[in-house]
Symmetry: C2
Subunit: 319 residues, 2 copies
């Protein structure tokens, strides 16, 4: 464990782009130990510059391949890129920074790329608790773009939305059609829709369905209308179009003050989540750690309803 004085030094070294300092800070963040507030304090003045791009979609749509292709595209444009893989099905997941870099193949030896998989323990919705801080580490380390890869379908999209400036939702032909996507609420959260594996049968139909369902903007309608982009990430096809669509969305965000609003909402959600976690840990400590279990047994027995039990818990922490 780094000593107190070391955290500021680590942040300085990370800002200079030293991979070992970045890796050490990411570990401190992921351990979520008692030093986390200190790390957060040291990072705060140096974050807020990176563009955060969320990639989400059901298992099998090609998220990891698309992530890799986007890294290559941004590198070709001279950008420094960070990748946070919060997707438990990602091949980038489950290892340490160096391990991930090795697995990331073509980007393994590129000093302009930082890749980190986040453990899903201690998750909050689809996202690891540590993700927002990990993002600040990569941001402070000079990444221009941070790609956050999460597994989609269901609530995870909502989570990635709260984290990202731009949310890219990936679909694949035959992996649940456009109607399913609409029902799953994907259209509401996507800033960019990518039909990956567009060389497969059914791609035209999926693209057509999605375009029809994305509500067309009327005259004077300033809402963002998610573009539907075709790609075949394994061949690198369509990736330039994906980048262009992300850039167009970024310009839209900046031009309307929406970027600041999104980031404020994100910060509010993060603050609230930390505050809730603190109170939750106090619940766990009540009655020598047995209060909640005792209340739960009384609810199961029908002696108490959960609302009355919750009142007792809230009173117990003095709130």
């Amino acid at each position: 464990m780094a000593r107190t004085a070391d955290v500021a030094e680590l942040v300085d070294r990370a800002r200079a782009g030293q991979p070992r300092a970045v890796a050490r800070l990411l570990s401190l963040v992921e351990e979520a130990g008692p030093r986390l507030p200190e790390v957060a304090r040291a990072l705060a003045p140096h974050a807020g510059r990176a563009r955060v791009i969320g990639l989400t979609g059901a298992p099998g749509v090609g998220k990891s391949t698309s992530t890799s292709a986007l890294v290559a595209a941004y590198r070709a444009r001279g950008r420094r890129v960070g990748v946070l893989a919060v997707d438990p099905s990602s091949p980038f997941s489950g290892g340490a920074l160096l391990g991930d870099r090795v697995r990331m193949g073509e980007h393994a030896t590129d000093p302009g790329v930082f890749i980190r998989s986040m453990a899903t323990r201690g998750h909050l919705g689809g996202l690891s608790w540590a993700t927002p801080q990990a993002l600040r580490v990569l941001d402070a380390a000079g990444c221009d773009v941070v790609l956050v890869e999460t597994v989609g379908v269901g609530q995870s999209e909502v989570e990635v939305v709260s984290l990202a400036d731009t949310t890219v939702v990936l679909l694949a032909p035959g992996m649940g059609d456009g109607v399913q996507a609409a029902k799953a609420g994907i259209l509401e959260v996507a800033d960019v829709l990518v039909v990956n594996k567009a060389d497969r049968d059914g791609a035209d139909a999926t693209v057509r369905d999605l375009k029809r369902m994305v509500s067309p903007g009327g005259p004077g309608d300033a809402r963002w209308r998610p573009p539907v982009v075709r790609a075949a990430a394994t061949r690198g096809e369509g990736i330039a179009d994906v980048v262009a669509a992300i850039d167009a969305h970024h310009d839209w965000l900046c031009g309307r003050g929406e970027l600041a609003r999104r980031r404020a909402r994100r910060a509010a959600g993060e603050i609230e989540a930390i505050a809730v976690a603190r109170l939750r840990s106090r619940f766990g400590g009540l009655g020598g750690g047995t209060a909640l279990a005792t209340l739960a047994e009384r609810v199961v027995a029908g002696e108490l309803d959960p609302y009355a039990a919750a009142d007792q818990l809230v009173e117990g922490v003095g709130a």
Copy 2:
């Protein structure tokens, strides 16, 4: 809105199996208005008897068809059945009780079946806030079995696990193979694995993959090993096997005291979630409703880190 005196009367009428009283209580629960604690108090002594079976799986695996087939199977055994559809992609979703009953086709006129779709607004993970109370309404109304249908993949499985006595995870051939299922954490949460659409190509491979990945119990290993069941719900094939697997799991739960433990965990989670929601609403009220927004802006500006901001929030509610 029912007067105070009416809630007790509604519960009495629901216990007598009157559909209108059940529908009214479900509406009170779903409105989540100020009367909810009162409804919870009136229900508490009359719940805890029903078996709760969760059905989850990715969009397109046939959850709704399987739910309908299971309803028919339980009805054929003389059981009263409740259905809660928390899946936004479910055809049962989005309507009121009577509307749902009409759409449920063959079960529409069966007085032994209650069907309710839960709005996903106010959701908590993949589940509606109101779901645990709605479950108690159906339980108090004499349902022997309550089927809870949720969309799967990602965190929703974890949510349905915390709600159900037995969790049935549905897969379909070609919808992401066994390896994907393992990566998505499905094997850890499933009590019963169903390969639906088993008449399709690839079903044998999916069944084989899953069976290989479900860890075989050694001698003296008392852990539950999820059976892998083949089904074709649209034809009603394999549904008797699914029911038998659910029954076997129930017997296992009861024989080991695990049912009581699961239900206590479920109640603890519910109590905690209600307590957290109460505290969260207090956060929202701080500083005339502006405290959190102000803290968020300072975090975005890099003046404050989110942990320090959370401390201010927690102090603000007096905890």
